[in-house]
Amino acid sequence: MKLLVTFSRRGGRDPGREPIIARVVKETGVLINVEKAYIESMAGEVLIDVPDADAELVRQRMEEMGVAVRVLEDAISRDETECIDCGACISVCPQDVFSFDDEWRIQLQQGRCVLCGKCVRACPHQALSLQQ
C-alpha cells in the first residue's frame, strides 16, 4: 500500500531533519520502500510503499512523530470521456502502470504509480491527472 507522507518545516519543529523513516523501520521491523522524496524549504513529501497489513501501524507511528500520512488510492485519475485508448502513456511510465486489455482499452494498475507525472505530459488528450 502506498502512503503519502507530508510534513511542514514551518515553526520550531522540522521533521525533515529527523530520521523518521529509519526510526519507524527499526521500531516496527516493517520494511518500507521509499519511492519518491521531494523536500523543499518549507515543506516535504515522501511516497512510501509498505505491506498492506502494516500500513496502519506505520501510519500511526509516523503521525506520532509529527508528520501527516495519507493512504494513496487511485493516484492517477483518467478522464474516460477524453481518453481515446491510444496508448501514448504506456511506454513513458517507468512503473508499468498502463497496459492494453484484449479489446485495446487502457488498463491501469494504480498500485504501481509513484506520481512521477510523465504520463500526464505525454497524454495527447489531456485525459490524465495526478491526485493531489
Binding site: C86, S91, V92, W104, H125, Q126
Partner: protein, 502 residues
C-alpha cells in the same frame, strides 16, 4: 473469376452483401483460399484513428448586415485563413490560439463545433465600397454556417515511421514523448487495418470513392500532399460535411511541447473485385514494416535504427540496440476498429454504396525534399576563431587571468594532446574562490560533460543547444575533438544584418 462493382452494389441494395473488416479477412482467406474468399466476400472495410495534423475545414459564415469582406478571421481566438472570398475561411487543425497557446487550437475549434458548442467568430476588414463594415464579433453554432466542409490535405498515411531518441534528454515531438537513451518507441497507424495497406496499388482507392470521415460519409478527393506511395508512404486528400460528423471520431489533441493536432477517424471500403484485391486485403501486421527513426538527430535525413513490423510494434515490446524497449501507440487501435466496424454496418444496411475511382492515384510517385536555393547558415560561418583555452593541469589562478584578459566567460579545457576534455566558466572560477580554497587545478573545477557544436552544424541546431541547456557558449570541435572555434550567444547576432538578412 471476377466480380463487377455493379454486382456488389446490387447485393448492398438487396441487403445481402458479405462485408468483413480487414482484421477478419486473413482468416477467411486462410480458410477458403483466394478463389473461395473472392466468391464469399464482397467488401472489406478498413479504418484508422490517429493524429492527422494536415486537416481542416472551409467555412462560409453567411453575410452580415452591413456586409464585411473578412481579411482576418479568428474562431475562439484561433486564426483561420481568410485570403478567399468575403465570408469564407479555412481553419487548419494545427493553428494555435493567440491567447491559450498550445492548449487550444484549430483542432479544438473543429471538435467543439462538431460537439455542438458555440464558437466566437471575430473578423476585421479595411472596409470597401461594396463591403463597408470593418469589424464583426458574433457567436456561431455549426448549424448557423452555410457550409462547414472538412478538407484534409493529408490523411490516412499508409504507414508511418516509428520514433525513438538516442540523446540524453527527453524530446517532446509530434510523435509524442521520446525518453532519453532510446527509452521507448512511439508509433502510429493501424497496421493491417489501415486503408492504404489494403490497396497499396491504389486500384480501388482514388478520386470520388466514398469513405468514412469523422463519423460522416465523405469522399476521397485524390492523392494527399506528400503522397509517396512509391516508397510505401501513400496519403489521401479527403473531404466530408462536418455537419454530419460526430465528436467521437474527431478529437483535438495537444502533443506537449509540439502543439495542437486533430485525431481523425478515416475508413475506406474496398470492393473485392478480383484475386489481387483478395490478396491485398488479406494483409497482416507481420507483412507491414516500417523503420524506427532516431528523432535525436535534428536533420531531415534521420537515421533508421532498425526495421520493424506492425506486429512487433503492437506486441508492446521490441528489441532495440540490444535492449528490450517498450512501445507506445499514438493512434488508437480500439477506435480504428470502431471505424471499420461502423463502415461495415453502413454497407450491410445499404446506407453506403461503393464507387470506383473517377481518377486513379499514382502508386509509384515519390515525394521529394525541398529545393533550397540558400543554404541554412552553418556554425563555421559565424563562430569565433580566436579561442582562449587552458589545459587541465593549469592552476585556477591562470584560468582566472585568461578569462580576464580574453574578455570571455568560457574557457575550453584541453588535455596535453590538445583534445577537449572540459570547460570552465567565470562562474566556476568565482565559485572555487568563494567556497573552497583547497582546489587548485583547472581539472578540479571544470565541467566534464561539455555540450559542443561542429563547424558544419546548422546554426539553428546550435542555437537550440544553447537555449535547451541554458548556456551561453559552445566550443566548436572537429572530428578528432580538437577545438577549432567557439560559438557564443553574441555570435548569433551576426545573423542579423549582413548577408544572412533577407
Amino acid at each position: 473469376m471476377e466480380k463487377s462493382l455493379e454486382l456488389i452494389n446490387t447485393r448492398i441494395r438487396d441487403g445481402n452483401a458479405r462485408v468483413v473488416t480487414a482484421e477478419e479477412m486473413p482468416a477467411i482467406v486462410d480458410e477458403l483460399g483466394d478463389e473461395g474468399a473472392l466468391e464469399e466476400v464482397d467488401v472489406v472495410t478498413t479504418g484508422t484513428f490517429g493524429a492527422m495534423c494536415s486537416s481542416g475545414a472551409f467555412f462560409n459564415f453567411g453575410h452580415a448586415d452591413p456586409p464585411i469582406r473578412m481579411e482576418q478571421v479568428w474562431l475562439n481566438d484561433v486564426e483561420a485563413y481568410a485570403g478567399i472570398a468575403a465570408v469564407d475561411a479555412y481553419l487548419g487543425a494545427t493553428q494555435q490560439s493567440t491567447t491559450q497557446g498550445e492548449r487550444y487550437g484549430g483542432g479544438h475549434v473543429l471538435e467543439d463545433l462538431v460537439a455542438g458548442t458555440m464558437v466566437e467568430l471575430r473578423a476585421i476588414s479595411r472596409g470597401t465600397d461594396c463591403y463597408p463594415r470593418r469589424t464583426i464579433t458574433t457567436e456561431l453554432l455549426l448549424e448557423d454556417m452555410n457550409q462547414a466542409i472538412m478538407v484534409n490535405p493529408r490523411n490516412a498515411y499508409q504507414r508511418y515511421n516509428a520514433a525513438t531518441n538516442s540523446t540524453e534528454r527527453t524530446l517532446y515531438t509530434y510523435m509524442g514523448t521520446l525518453l532519453p537513451r532510446c527509452g521507448n518507441v512511439s508509433y502510429s497507424g493501424a497496421g493491417a487495418l489501415s486503408p492504404l495497406s489494403n490497396d497499396p496499388q491504389f486500384r480501388v482507392i482514388g478520386s470520388g470513392v466514398p469513405i468514412f470521415l469523422g463519423g460522416a460519409q465523405g469522399m476521397v478527393i485524390g492523392e494527399g500532399t506528400q503522397h509517396s506511395a512509391g516508397s510505401g508512404f501513400g496519403t489521401l486528400m479527403v473531404t466530408g460535411d462536418m455537419k454530419q460528423m460526430r465528436q467521437e471520431f474527431l478529437r483535438a489533441a495537444t502533443m506537449t511541447g509540439y502543439g495542437v493536432t486533430l485525431y481523425v477517424g478515416v475508413g475506406v471500403p474496398i470492393p473485392v473485385l478480383d484475386l489481387d484485391l483478395v490478396r491485398s486485403t488479406a494483409v497482416r501486421d507481420e507483412d507491414i514494416t516500417t523503420e524506427i527513426i532516431d528523432y535525436g538527430v535534428p536533420s531531415r535525413d534521420r537515421p533508421s535504427l532498425r526495421t520493424v513490423s506492425y506486429a512487433e510494434l503492437k506486441s508492446g515490446r521490441i528489441e532495440l540496440v540490444g535492449e528490450e524497449v517498450r512501445t507506445s501507440s499514438l493512434s488508437s487501435y480500439r477506435k480504428a476498429r470502431e471505424v471499420a466496424q461502423e463502415l461495415k454496418t453502413w454497407i450491410e444496411e445499404g446506407r453506403m454504396e461503393l464507387a470506383l475511382p473517377t481518377r486513379r492515384i499514382d502508386p509509384t510517385r515519390r515525394a521529394r525534399p525541398m529545393r533550397e536555393t540558400t543554404r541554412a547558415p552553418r556554425v563555421r560561418e559565424i563562430m569565433d576563431l580566436d579561442v582562449v583555452s587552458v589545459t587541465e593541469d593549469e592552476e585556477i589562478r591562470t584560468a582566472a587571468r585568461k578569462l580576464l584578459k580574453g574578455e570571455t566567460n568560457h574557457l575550453p579545457v584541453l588535455d596535453r594532446n590538445g583534445v577537449l576534455v572540459g570547460i570552465v566558466t567565470t562562474y566556476d572560477v568565482s565559485k572555487a574562490v568563494v567556497t573552497d580554497g583547497r582546489l587548485r587545478r583547472v581539472r578540479d573545477i571544470m565541467t566534464r560533460q561539455v555540450i559542443k557544436t561542429y563547424p558544419e552544424e546548422p546554426v539553428d541546431i546550435a542555437a537550440r543547444k544553447l537555449e535547451k541547456n541554458n548556456i551561453s557558449a559552445l566550443p566548436v570541435v572537429d572530428a578528432t575533438n580538437r577545438v577549432v572555434g567557439i560559438l557564443s550567444a553574441i555570435d548569433l547576432g551576426k545573423l542579423f544584418g549582413g548577408r544572412w538578412q533577407r
